[in-house]
């Protein structure tokens, strides 16, 4: 990893840390949502069933939101231009962002996961470390996706509109409510192109069926491809304008 990537990551982290209210929200928001989700499903069995998919969805949601907005701010406040005329590469900028914000995405993931396990006492199977590794992968996809889509928003207002546009359809089509195989044919087909589908599939396999990372190689591979794809596309959006 280049020192430029680390410099960008360091600055991104510093920015969040120096803003107390943001830090507080990053910690409180997942707690509130996990609580609401937990108590809205009083049936223990149902909660055990729903929890993995809810987790995957929230990781994507939070990761997308935090990176989308921060990267957009970088564009609108002009600091992105300053970085673009500096010697660091576009890939360093995107990768540095990713690395910095991933820290907070992971923090949120851990908060939600341990809250569900210890406070809502959901049952799960599978290895703890494998579950965490897979959740981290979902977080990486979310962060890459947020960086990419921020290129298509001119302001925060538009960025917020991307949530119903990009995230909500994934929630309905990823198998959170209905298994993808039971969706109408066209929607089932669409669901195959959405990252959350593989996030939900993989995390269910790990937490409900007690499978290992090796068993869900396909989901891991596809999610990694999504992450790499969004990362490359995001750095392409930083091209010289003509």
């Amino acid at each position: 990893m280049s020192s430029s990537t680390l410099n960008v990551a360091r600055r991104v982290i510093l920015q969040v840390v120096r803003d107390r209210r943001t830090i507080a929200l990053i910690i409180v928001a997942p707690l509130v949502i996990a609580t609401v989700a937990g108590f809205s499903i009083p049936d223990k069995m149902m909660l055990d069933n729903a929890a993995p998919a809810i987790l995957a969805t929230l990781i994507i949601f939070f990761g997308f939101l935090i990176t989308g907005i921060s990267f957009l701010r970088e564009r609108t406040q002009g600091t992105l231009e300053r970085m673009l005329v500096s010697p660091i590469s576009r890939m360093d900028i995107v990768a540095g962002y990713l690395l910095g914000l991933l820290l907070f995405a992971l923090l949120q993931t851990l908060i939600m996961f341990f809250y569900m396990v210890y406070v809502l006492s959901i049952n799960y199977q599978g290895d703890l470390w494998q579950i965490l590794v897979f959740q981290m992968l979902i977080g990486i996809v979310a962060v890459c996706m947020g960086t990419f889509f921020s290129a298509f928003a001119r302001n925060e207002f538009q960025m917020i509109q991307f949530i119903p546009l990009i995230i909500v359809p994934q929630i309905f089509l990823s198998g959170l409510f209905i298994q993808t195989s039971q969706l109408p044919y066209v929607l089932e087909w669409i669901s195959k192109f959405l990252p959350l589908t593989y996030g939900v599939e993989g995390i269910k396999a790990l937490m409900q069926q007690g499978q290992s990372l090796l068993d869900i190689g396909k989901d891991i591979g596809i999610l990694a491809a999504f992450a790499a794809g969004f990362l490359v596309l995001a750095s392409l959006t930083l091209r010289q304008k003509s």
């Binding site: 020192s3 430029s4 410099n7 960008v8 600055r11 510093l14 920015q15 969040v16 120096r18 803003d19 406040q77 002009g78 600091t79 231009e81 300053r82 970085m83 673009l84 005329v85 500096s86 010697p87 660091i88 590469s89 010289q240 304008k241 003509s242």
Partner: protein, 249 residues
Amino acid sequence: MTDAAIAVNNLAFKYGALKVIDDMTMEIESGTSYGLLGPNGAGKTTLIRLMVGLLKPAGGNVLCLGKPPTRSMAKNIGYMPQLPALYSELSVEQNIDFFGRIYGLKDSKKRWERVNEVIKVVDLWEKRKTQIVNLSGGMKQRVSLACAIVHQPSLIFLDEPTVGLDPELRVHFWDYFTDLTKAGHTLIISSHTFDDAAHCQRLAFLRLGRVVAQGTPAELRAATGNKEASLEDAFLYFIKHDEVKENVQ
């Protein structure tokens, strides 16, 4: 030709159908201060963005230090955008330190020495630990300048650096700019004030994306044919001339 810091050849740029830079040609010698003077919308910012490589020309070219502006020469270039582009949660010194880092000042002791030095140049020593959100507009402008020069670039682009500064600081800034050119740095400064213009060694008057006149302040004043003419008179003279030419065509 050899010691031209910047050469602009038949440069053209459009935003959609709007011609913003129209067949512009100019040469800027190294070690001089060059002023880009023009009304709002004349194309000053667009020209600077083309010069630093943020925009791609629709026609013609820009050579910075003999080459099209690319990342390989970025460490020799400093760019202060028109609006202070800073990280509002970070402090003055954290902002400057970040730009020092990405410009490759790796040695942390030397970098901090330099950061402290530019903080003193922009006279913000007491405010160095203050977050940007808590600064006044003129102070932000000063931090923005500090970020643009922390890596001691030889070519410095300043987009309206004196806007919002009080008179005392303006004088202080111009003293500093003069020192920089004496030390061999090249400064490209956009402005609409004639106070700034008078300080520049050479000027280009811009209107609607074209250079309507260029030369030293004295040359431009003399060109009006009126011995008493101020730079402001000269500017209005050339703008009028250009308008007349346009109407004839």
